[in-house]
């Protein structure tokens, strides 16, 4: 019990928000894709992921590796195979529908008219094919349909399939309360297990049902019965009530109570609960598993020092940071995510010693600090100052023996430098670059650059980094 309180004490408000946001995203994905095969495949992938974890836990190396490969490919396959479903789900009128709304048909299909029409056609031995799409787009499975957009009525259905009518051979596609297309050609099924008396019309219904999530009503011309095709099933429906029930279930038409479906409510509530449990599980595996340790070399950033000072030296520029977290987090952890900052705002000129504590280290959520090595760092700061230093020529080489370099004049004779007062105190002369004597044979001038041994020294803007050397040569 005490452990439970301790556990609750470690949960941050960010963790709760994190779980809620992601649970809602999963819930919304379910709402948008429910009824399509995407959800089923996603469940399959989740199961594969679980199996892979289990195989990894049991030490089944090849199994774990193989499932991991399949799962990785499955994500790609989903996007390619279910592109139509994804497009349909995302092709909504506004953002609100994606983020908040429960997709529901604005206008419902009058099931009673459809059922009556089907059995009327059957009684009159008029063959018919009526398609009721669900979420999947039928555009790629069907072709040659003639746009109709006629309001659904029993008379219209009968007249479409009336003998010798120009469109009676194809299928009629019904969406909402309208006949969207007529004379549509459906893909034929190549199944060999279909009853021999099933003709082209039945094979077309079976073909579309196999490839999409649509439901197809087939009215047999010869036998005068009604067959419903959905998925891999072809079922003879003898009763109007049964056909009505199948259609209602397929089209998702429920009794309504204040604009929200009674039947859909528990389903969505369960989906929401499962989403929260699922994401909580992932969150636990990410953040609470501290089974893996890692040691990283983190760069130490020294910040906020007085602009009138400069950092002369630091005892350490990197520190070895021992961390623990779940395997997943450790695998995704990059050295640049571990930031180690030392605040020098209170530093004084000279040597400053700082303890590296938890507050100096920024870690990604869920990663815990175990140890830092070294535990302290020393920083030497110096005040910036400005000083005028004389310039001296650095001659090298060999002057011809008969000559004497009598005199040297420099313009300017001095330069102004800025830098740490300690460094400036240590130097008293700025030298030119090395000037070879070997080719000098008469008095002359040249311009040469100055050499700064420390990168911390800078020449002031009003000084130049080169001087003019005037030299006087005389014969012995």
């Amino acid at each position: 019990m005490n452990d439970l309180f301790v556990f609750w004490g470690t949960i941050r408000w960010q963790d709760i928000v994190d779980v809620l946001i992601n649970s809602y995203i999963v819930f919304r994905l379910y709402v948008l894709f429910r009824g399509t095969n995407v959800v089923r495949v996603l469940v399959g992938i989740a199961f594969l992921w679980f199996l892979q974890k289990l195989a990894g836990y049991l030490g089944l190396i090849i199994t774990s590796w193989a499932i991991k490969g399949v799962t990785a490919f499955a994500a790609l396959i989903i996007i390619v195979v279910f592109r139509n479903e994804i497009r349909s789900a995302l092709q909504v009128k506004n953002l609100k529908t994606i983020l908040w709304g429960i997709p529901r048909k604005g206008v419902e299909t009058p099931v009673e008219i459809v059922v009556d029409s089907a059995y009327e056609l059957a009684r009159k031995r008029i063959g018919a094919l009526i398609v009721f799409p669900r979420k999947e787009n039928l555009g790629e499975a069907t072709h040659s349909g003639i746009p109709w957009q006629g309001l659904l009525s029993r008379e219209m259905i009968i007249s479409i399939f009336w003998h010798n009518g120009p469109v009676h051979d194809g299928a009629a596609i019904i969406e909402d309360d309208r006949i969207k297309e007529v004379g549509t050609i459906l893909p034929l099924s190549h199944r060999k297990d279909l009853p021999p008396h099933y003709g082209t019309r039945h094979r077309a219904a079976a073909g579309l049902a196999e490839n999409t999530d649509a439901l197809i009503i087939v009215v047999s011309e010869e036998r005068g019965n009604v067959v419903v095709a959905k998925g891999a099933q072809l079922k003879v429906v003898r009763e109007k009530e049964e056909l009505s029930k199948i259609l209602i279930e397929h089209l998702g038409i429920y009794e309504k109570q204040e604009g929200f479906s009674i039947k859909g409510k528990p389903e969505l509530a369960i989906a929401g609960l499962v989403s929260v449990i699922f994401i909580s599980g992932i969150w636990f595996s990410f953040t609470r598993g501290l089974d893996t340790m890692v040691t990283l070399d983190a760069a130490i950033e020294y910040v906020n020092w007085n602009p009138k000072m400069e950092v002369l030296d630091t005892s350490e520029n990197t520190a070895r940071v021992n961390l623990s977290a779940s395997t997943t987090l450790i695998k995704s952890l990059k050295p640049e995510q571990v930031r180690l900052k030392i605040d020098l705002s209170k530093a004084v000129p000279g040597k400053n010693t700082y303890n590296i504590a938890q507050e100096n280290i920024t870690l990604p959520p869920g990663v815990n600090l175990i140890k830092v090595e070294p535990p302290t760092v020393e920083v030497i700061l110096d005040t910036l100052s400005k000083e005028e230093l004389p310039v001296q020529v650095d001659w090298v080489g060999n002057l011809p023996a008969y000559l004497i370099l009598k005199e040297v004049g420099l313009t300017p004779k001095t330069v102004w430098l800025t830098g740490g007062s300690r460094i400036l105190k240590e130097i008293s002369t700025i030298y030119t670059e090395k000037i070879p004597l070997d080719h000098l044979d008469k008095t002359g001038t040249m311009t040469v650059k100055l050499v700064f041994n420390s990168t911390r020294l800078k020449i002031t803007p009003d000084s130049k980094d080169q001087v003019m050397v005037r030299y006087v040569l005389e014969k012995r």
Binding site: V393, D394, W395, G397, I404, L405, E426
Partner: protein, 147 residues
């Protein structure tokens, strides 16, 4: 008091007053004399780097010296030298003090020099700081030792 005693008393007073004024004049003279010595400061009249010093004169003044010469001289001449004192020739190789040579100066004027033996590692820029006994820099001579 008798007349003889009174005369002796006046003589003693006169001698005392006379000694007092004499002391004052002497003190004044001494002060004047010391004032003259302050006005005569140790002055460096000449400083030069050279290849040799002969008969108190620098020979072949230069700013670049070959290793083949084997040695370099720093020549200094002072006039006046008010009193016996010492000066220093501080030889720096780059910014590092290489050697510090103290030289005694005698009044009224004095010429002196210091020198270093050149080694292979001495190639590069040098300077000699000439300072008085208190460390005040009187002059800086800059030169290079080359091949």
């Amino acid at each position: 008091m008798k007349r003889k005693d009174r005369l002796l008393f006046y003589i003693i007073i006169l001698l005392f007053v006379g000694f007092f004024f004499y002391s004052l004049v002497l003190a004044q003279q001494k002060e004047d004399s010391s004032g003259t010595s302050f006005s005569k400061k140790l002055t460096l009249t000449q400083a030069a780097m050279c290849e040799e010093v002969k008969k108190h004169t620098p020979k072949n003044r230069a700013v670049v010296f070959s290793m083949n010469l084997g040695r370099v001289f720093c020549y200094t001449s002072f006039d006046p030298v008010p009193e016996k004192t010492i000066i220093y020739h501080n030889w720096f190789y780059r910014d590092k003090l290489s050697t510090k040579i103290n030289l005694v100066l005698h009044p009224p004027r004095y010429t002196t020099y210091s020198r270093i033996q050149l080694r292979e590692t001495d190639k590069g820029p040098w300077r000699v700081e000439i300072t008085d006994k208190r460390g005040n820099i009187l002059n800086i001579q800059r030169f290079s030792v080359v091949d």
